[in-house]
């Protein structure tokens, strides 16, 4: 019990006494409790503040990871969120993201242990972005702002610590990618007439929401030489076809990140996100025989004429308006492995009467 104590909350976690901030670093690093970067020591006061802000008791069960029967409690998630650098106001997004990852269709164990090495892409929507200062502008896929940096990192630390997803342990990633440090972006809803992602996926636009997707590294494209929507989107489709040929041919969720310069042309021609998805669904297709052009002839066999589509249906495409104001760039974020893991969108909110997802 700390000196001040928190009579309204009982923490189950074991405590350690350390001499100072640097000693705390060494304790956590030595125990394999970090991502290699310094952490914020999770004191009872800091963890209490997160739980209080989210109006969540420490023993609230978010869910149970089914393969290993590991319970995920709000307390343990808050400890990892504090370590990542989250302030209390960042914690509701962390809670919602991890709850979304625990939905069965996300396939949390497979997605986080696979040799495929994907990261968890987290997309923020709704008013919370402005409250958190999550910009969705310059450097959207890099270090854009504190909120997205720490929310993304909290998820990774929670995977490392609560689910033991460590490299060479449960995390069998051959390569992984830098998104495994933090992979969180905010949609630039104010900068576009497009329907925000969470509304496209069925939520009221006025709520705040988190979407999680098991995603590979971003593949950046450039096309600053046209204003025609079909030509701009053809470049995105070509990058998706290249992913199908060179990485994985299976259809699933793809995310397209479209910054203002390219977005302006699409919007000027009155193309909606649904129009974009229909076009991409039609154009992002390859034939199995194309594998022979990229060194995979051994597995074409007699199925060369089989056509594969990047998207099983247009609604598998996640179109996100984000990025800085200048530059004819865009990004394609491919799925970890087809539709083995499916993106999940959940609203952010205090949940008074929530049940953990059914097992």
């Amino acid at each position: 019990m700390s000196e001040r104590g928190h009579s309204d909350m009982h923490f189950a976690a074991r405590t350690y006494d350390v001499g100072d901030l640097l000693a705390a670093q060494e304790l956590y690093h030595a125990n394999g409790w970090t991502d290699g970067l310094p952490i914020v020591p999770p004191t009872e006061d800091a963890v209490h503040a997160c739980l209080e802000w989210a109006m969540t008791p420490p023993d609230q069960l978010l869910g149970i990871e089914p393969v290993r029967a590991v319970p995920i409690t709000a307390e343990k998630l808050a400890i990892n969120a504090v370590m990542a650098g989250c302030l209390p106001m960042h914690f509701p997004a962390v809670l919602t993201a991890f709850t979304a990852m625990l939905q069965p269709e996300f396939l949390l164990h497979g997605a986080t242990s696979s040799t495929g090495g994907c990261a968890v892409l987290i997309i923020l929507n709704g008013p919370i972005r402005r409250e958190l200062g999550a910009t969705g502008s310059f450097n959207a896929l890099g270090n854009s702002d504190r909120a997205t940096a720490v929310i993304g990192r909290a998820i990774r630390l929670a995977l490392i610590n609560i689910l033991e997803v460590r490299p060479g342990g449960i995390d069998r990633s051959t390569l992984g990618h830098p998104g495994k440090f933090s992979y969180c972006i905010a949609e630039d809803e104010e900068g576009t007439p497009w329907m925000p992602l969470h509304a496209q996926r069925g939520l009221p636009p006025e709520v705040s929401a988190v979407t999680v997707m098991a995603g590979g590294a971003p593949r950046q494209i450039m096309n600053e030489w046209t204003t025609q929507p079909e030509e701009i989107l053809e470049t995105f489709a070509a990058e998706m076809r290249a992913n199908m040929r060179q990485y994985s041919i299976w259809s699933g969720n793809y995310a397209l990140i479209i910054p203002p310069q390219l977005r302006d042309h699409l919007q000027a021609a009155c193309w909606s996100k649904a129009d974009i998805a229909d076009f991409i669904h039609a154009r992002a297709r390859v034939h199995r025989r194309e594998w022979a052009e990229v060194g995979k002839g051994a597995v074409v066999r007699d199925r060369g004429d089989t056509e594969h589509a990047a998207l099983g249906s247009p609604d598998q495409l996640l179109v996100v308006a984000a990025g800085g104001p200048a530059g004819g760039f865009g990004a394609v974020i491919p799925p970890w492995l087809g539709d083995k893991s499916r993106a999940v969108t959940l609203p952010i909110g205090a949940c008074v009467d929530c049940e953990p997802p059914g097992q």
Binding site: R68, V70, S113, E164, G168, G169, I170, R172
Partner: protein, 59 residues
């Protein structure tokens, strides 16, 4: 009997521990399977069969 390719031995040991079977013994064969030719697959099956005697049978 659980069979692991060499590159997954540490994963198997960890999964055994987290599932409540520390020290669970399993067979180990060469890696990878996905690009192995038939002769190699036959050798791997022979290795698994040899280990099956110890792992499946008592004594």
């Amino acid at each position: 009997m659980a069979v692991m390719t060499t590159r997954f031995v540490s994963a198997a040991e960890l999964m055994a521990r987290v599932l409540g079977f520390p020290g669970y013994e399993f067979a180990v064969i060469a890696h990878p399977i996905s690009s192995a030719g038939d002769a190699d697959l036959r050798d791997m099956a022979a290795a698994a069969t040899a280990q099956a005697r110890r792992l499946l049978l008592g004594g």
